[in-house]
Amino acid sequence: MLIHVRHRTRYTYDHPVQSMIQALRLSPRNHEGQYVRRWQIDLDQEGTLRPGEDSFGNVLHMLSLDGPLTSLCITVEGEVEMLDTNGIVRGALEKFPADLYLRETPLTLADAAIADFAHEIAGKAGSNKLKVLHGLLGAIHSEIVFDTEQTDTATTASDAFRLKQGVCQDLSHVFIAAARHLGIPTRYVGGYLMRSDDNIHQEAGHAWAEAHVDGLGWVGFDPANGICPTEAHIRVATGLDYLGASPIRGARLGGLAERMEVQVTVADSYPQDLAQQTHWSKPVDAIQQASQQFQA
């Protein structure tokens, strides 16, 4: 299946920005079941985009812009040929042994509640790791309500688990915290999802988790949807948590308040109405995004 993606991020500022620097993890790579036909990043302002790779093997672009700048729009657009692999990831660039993904990070720390939850699931599932992971997947999907209002990018796994609410990122962090607590190497995946309903216009990208199972390798788990990833899941970046796979991390000098809006379109054909697409996510307070103002 050929999936078409357009992802636009638009920033507007109250005052002109003097300079800006951003780290972009916005470009998918090829692996079994995922072949990138074409992919490009466009800016509506003059800037330098320096391509590279981070130590996890993600494509990393460093973007530098000089002001004065009152707005910026980053457009990512491309097509990816996708095949279903039953959620199993093969042929991806692996820079570390799986055991690295047992590290704790502040966003994925298992508190006592998550630890108890993980042990309860594991107790029911028995010794089969895959069963345990499916148990976690089902339980997190049913117990944590998808809600875009209660959490932000700084919300930890334990906060989301206490709230029993969150977005795909929060559910993934809870999954990661619980699985790592059980000694299963687990990582965060940022990407895009083509929805099964006909709603091709979305307000954000998608996130899920991958756990390492002996004999199978890395297997995806999408707790927001309660399924393993299918041909509809385009993997863009992986990391220990959201911060390591964040699409955009930035800092700027000047600008005062920032508004950031996101528009994502994912469809299995080139959408006829793409040019007319004018719906943006409602503006979000920038500090809730990974992008922070850097005070001079």
Partner: protein, 470 residues
Amino acid sequence: MPFDEMRLEDGSVRAPYLEVAKWLEGVTSAQLERRRAEAELFYRRGGITFAVYGDAQGEERIIPYDIIPRILAAQEWAKLKAGLEQRIKALNAYLADIYGPREILKAGIVPPDLVWRNPAYRPEMAGLAVPHGIYIHIAGIDIVRVDGDDFYVLEDNARTPSGVSYMLGGREISIRLMPELYGAHRVAPVENYPNELLATLQSAAPRNATKDVTAVLLTPGQFNSAYYEHSFLADKMGIELVEGSDLFVRDSVVFMRTTEGPKRVDIIYRRLDDAFIDPLVFDPHSMLGVPGLFAAYTAGNVTLANAVGTGAVDDKVVYSYVPDMVRFYLGEEPLLKNVPTWRCRDPNDLAYVLDHLSELVVKEVHGSGGYGMLVGPHATGADIALFRDKLKADPTNYIAQPTLSLSTCPAFVDMGIAPRHVDLRPFILTGADGIRIVPGGLTRVALRAGSLVVNSSQGGGTKDTWVVES
């Protein structure tokens, strides 16, 4: 009886201390007291203070200075120096390995989780070629003695070790306040440390840097406990003392804002922890760092001294493997000894430790500054019970060592001249042109009678250290 560096057990004086003993006989307590007061005034006027973390008042204090110098014979120093050079080579080789080919893990010498799950290991550094392959440009390796023969390493400090300003301040006081005693010895100089440090930093510039390289010292700012040292060293080296907001990155090159416009920076002696150096890569809330700095570093356009992620070699469990690193990377036997260490992560070791808490020193694997440790022989029953629970709850977080009978040196205390326990922190500089160690280092002294804790945060003081030619 602990080993006393001045006197043999029969009370006779060891050769390196003959002049000091003579001087101590001829000087009155009143004279010593006056000199001590003058030394304190020197520190107070110089603003050489430190803040104690965890102190409710957060007050600035002066580290007590003991005016009686510690003496090391030149031949003793030569032996120690060779051991330090060997050790720093092994530590550096380990970092190059765990961020590169990972041979020591493949060889089964270091358990992999000590790398992969070590919070001080920075996965972002993996596969990165640091300039000249140097990770630890500046190290402080803490040394203790228990007899006249061997030097033991207590811990390796490979992140941003501090204390060198006290070494330099102490020497200045010796020369000013005790010219007669100083003049009676041929004391090897330490005053050239800032020059040696600058030469080390400059030698470590990226290979693509121009001939006229620019180094800066990056400080977290005046609220850091070692701020005085940062400004002191920058001043002595004649380089700019900068905070994160004085630097910026454009197109993977680091610049410093100056009144004459942007100036390219080649080497950053950073006294800022890894987590804070770049909000785009590490702690996203850090306001102390420079956005884009890590990208400039990975592009090979700037040298960070020390490199990022050096803490992966200096925790107290990894410490216990350093002798193996010396053998593995250098094919040599270690010249410096390690203190025997029980790893509580190992069930057998844990059982032994739990049975012998009253004899052992128990430390947190990632602890520092003398915090969070148990000194068994000096602890109350309640302290020991508390630690027993901590150990059982989280054994991997602890190691234990025998209580070493640290050597003593004469110190001037309220009751007069009395032996007090000491350690030594020499500073090891590694540049592209070799290793430099100024003779001596910072001697820390536990001024409370019988105390083995020399940390300044725990009431320890400092002494000048003289490496003397006989």
